[in-house]
Symmetry: C2
Subunit: 125 residues, 2 copies
Amino acid sequence: MVQLQQARLDASFAALSDVTRRGILERLGQKDASITELADRFRMTLTGMKKHVSVLEHAGLVTTEKVGRVRTCRLGLRRLEQEAAWIESYRQLWSARFDELDRIVEGLVQEKTTHDRNTTVSPTS
Amino acid sequence: MVQLQQARLDASFAALSDVTRRGILERLGQKDASITELADRFRMTLTGMKKHVSVLEHAGLVTTEKVGRVRTCRLGLRRLEQEAAWIESYRQLWSARFDELDRIVEGLVQEKTTHDRNTTVSPTS
DNA sequence: CGTACACTGAACCATATGGTTCAGTTACAA
DNA sequence: TTGTAACTGAACCATATGGTTCAGTGTACG
């Protein structure tokens, strides 16, 4: 199950790692579109666009339905919950880590101050 | 500049699309580590781990410093702000899109109800 | 000094990715 | 029925990815 989640994260982060696919998602956020419309907009062949859509579909970010000749693409049911959660937990980890470093540095400064106070009283010039 | 941001997103989403690299980030969130320590933990060669670290470093997610023989890896300065922002804006887009669909569906239901009311008064059996 | 350790670069390998062209198949339209 | 438009699968291509081995280089330590 953890493996499944990891595979899911693998697939969707990989899907998001391409500027064209992020563009497709934004475009589909406005309105559903056919393969042809998407291919025109992103200036590539139908076959190329089909591949991108397949990647997004495999990641669960897009669903498609073919009626007649035309396949209509729309946003999938997934809202990137797990991806947002991973990033959020990373951000918290990051903050905690750097807060800790801050405390350590502060501790060192404190220590040094104390040390200085002990050693700088009445300097014997 | 937009291109630069897109390249940044490309690089960091790609960096996050590997389960080992996400593991490395989580590990470094606990404590800094050398290449050897990371390689041991993730059961791969030093060379292989070096490559992963390089990818993370290139994405700005990790910084390294070599002192003596050992290269110490720590979390980079980037907190995935842009990545979190992209995902968040996508989630809002997604919500807006589906709210709109809800309204459309509701509209249709409303229409149908009205129609039913108009047509089902005193059914002539 | 000699040895072992930590890393690094080059080369290699299999597979994946992002794109293309070409040759279909199916469906709408004149 | 004869196009033609929309898609699709197969094959191909260049490059990237995730890993390895091998052969170093530089550093610590006894």
